[in-house]
Amino acid sequence: MVDYRFTEEQELFRESIREFCASEIVPKTEKLGEVRCMPEDIIKALAKFELLGMVIDPEYGGLGTDTVTAGIAAEELARADLSCSIPVLFLVGTSWGHVIDKYGNEEIKKEILPKAIKGESIIGIATTESDIGSDLGNMKTKIVKKGDKYVVNGEKMYISGVAEAMEYGGGHVTLARMTPEKGTRGMNMFYLPLKDTPGITPTYVEDIGREAISCGGFDIKNVEIPKHYLLGEENKGFYYIHEGYELARGLISLVCAGAASKALENGIAYIKERKAFGKPIGKYEGIQFKLAEHHVKIQALRQLGYKALWTYDQEIQGKASRFDVSMAIAMAKSVAPFWAIDAIDDVMQWQGAFGYTKECEDQKAWRAVRSFTLAEGSSEIMKLIIARELLGKEFLAYR
């Protein structure tokens, strides 16, 4: 029926990346609580280990691996960095790099991808605006053709990687309305660089977790971009963009699983040692019941996540449909942040007052994982997707 094993390369890769994280990532995570922009040495370390171009075509310097292998990297990075700042940098770059690889023309691919893979620039995603999240078809940002350029006006907000793009170079895969009267059928997906781009004014926001990857936005005032920055065809952006979201959501599911797994391991070590009323608290049934429940959910989440990415890979090979992918991905992401945060929450609870202090490692994961109920698509939307698949398009809400 099913072979649940990873391939030998994937197992070797997991071993290798785990060691890489232990020696190159974990020691660097201490400073992550104090910065609001990913430090360059971390980006370079990820590049050196060939993590930044995993799924991208080797022609541009990538590895061309499958997304399941990228999922392994996401899980391991989350285990190593409980603040999830580094996993977010990884998953955003991977997902949107893939989209540029798939929909970009030769010129833009050669211009953007090799640099990003070497860690010399950033790739991000910018669709959200101050007043627009799920309802993309009504966004403010507009794009018009002007000769052989496009001109963009509007704003984006609650975007990851703005500070990084301003600092290191690179840009964001962006969505804007080309033909407003057509709603979602009149949107363009394009690449928008931030650094040294006239008309871009960045702003920054302090979010409550994943501190080391910046959160912010930018004003877009008459920003001109060359023709070749258009990704795919005009007016079809809304359809393309979902492929990027889906890969990101699949990776997010494994980031949640990785962070929760590590937190649960921390919890297990704690409850074996900490004594109350003469016994280690791990001996009490109440604690054991919780431990068992969370373990089951996290392992189930891992299965949902890897199956979702496997389905994504199957679609690339023509063996699964768009809808198979949407369903599998939505299922994993609909539960990932909740199951993960439940586990992490209990791990903090076991640690009592200490769990409520900044000294406790696990609270970083608690704050980070909370973001995944909304990042790259809210949990509510995930449920609507699942329901749509089960009920049929005629039952789509909000139509």
Binding site: L12, S16, I17, E19, E50, T69
Partner: protein
């Protein structure tokens, strides 16, 4: 240069702990890794092959089927071919029997210029297999090798560590070298692209019959030493902790040390 590197998969002994209550080894969750000395060896072999321009690096190990992952690691580090000799007949091998089996396998691999091994493995720490293998192959050996250079006439210049410095030696192939990694050595984790390449390289698994030789010299039968007992080392007793703040404690410690006055003053 045809190079053969002997490697070993070992438990990560820096992670092994002893259960304080039962006084037994706690092996749970202790990963099996490529012996760190051997990791350095493979990197050096690959470097030498690349510098001399041609040749090959074959890695070989005697171990259970799981040792495959250590060999895959070596292939990912740049070795060209792997040989795993594995058989229940090898169970209970001491260093002599191990060297015998490796020598048989190396003869089956064919001609070679150099055999490399790590100075020691972190589980046994005997440093014996290298010299015993060299003796059995009938080739000279240099141990505690810190540095190797090869000129285009296959002349080797070797830095051999001594207790108070090092010797610079000149030697020719064939030869066995046991390498010491520099103190700054950190094993580099091969990235995914190397792992993908590793999968495509030749990987041979040979049992006792395939490597030939005298069966009675393998495993326990062929071993001259036997482990008859293992136990945890005896404890030294309780530690007396000196209380008090920094200066106070220092004063009390001073009094303890002054009991050894004769020793201190000499």
């Amino acid at each position: 240069m045809k190079i053969i590197a002997c490697v070993k998969q070992v438990p990560d002994t820096t992670e092994v702990k002893v259960d304080p209550k039962t006084h037994t080894l706690v092996r749970d969750g202790v990963p099996s890794i490529l012996n760190p000395y051997d990791h350095y060896v493979v990197e050096e072999c690959v470097r030498i092959k690349e510098e001399t321009g041609e040749g090959s690096v074959t890695v070989i190990t005697m171990g259970p089927p799981q040792a495959r992952s250590a060999l895959m690691r070596c292939l990912a580090l740049g070795a060209d071919e792997a040989v795993l000799i594995s058989d229940k007949a090898f169970a209970g091998s001491d260093t002599w029997a191990t060297a015998y089996a490796l020598a048989q396998a190396i003869r089956k691999i064919g001609s070679f210029d150099m055999v490399f091994c790590g100075q020691q493995a972190i589980d046994g720490d005997t440093a014996q297999v290298g010299p015993e293998l060299a003796q059995q192959l009938g080739i000279p050996q240099v141990t505690y090798v810190e540095k190797i250079e090869i000129d285009d006439k296959q002349k080797l210049t070797i830095h051999k560590q001594t207790e108070d410095g090092y010797h610079i030696l000149e030697a020719k192939v064939p030869i066995l070298l046991a390498l010491l990694p520099p103190t700054s050595f950190q094993p580099e984790h091969p990235p995914m692209s190397s792992i993908l390449k590793a999968k495509k390289k030749p990987f041979n698994v040979w049992d006792a019959k395939t490597i030939g030789g005298d069966e009675s010299r393998f495993g326990l039968d062929g071993s001259f030493t036997q482990v008859i007992k293992t136990y945890t080392p005896p404890s030294r007793g309780e530690c007396e902790l000196i209380e008090g703040d920094g200066k106070d404690a220092a004063k009390k410690l001073g009094e303890v040390l002054l009991k050894h006055e004769a020793l201190i003053k000499r």
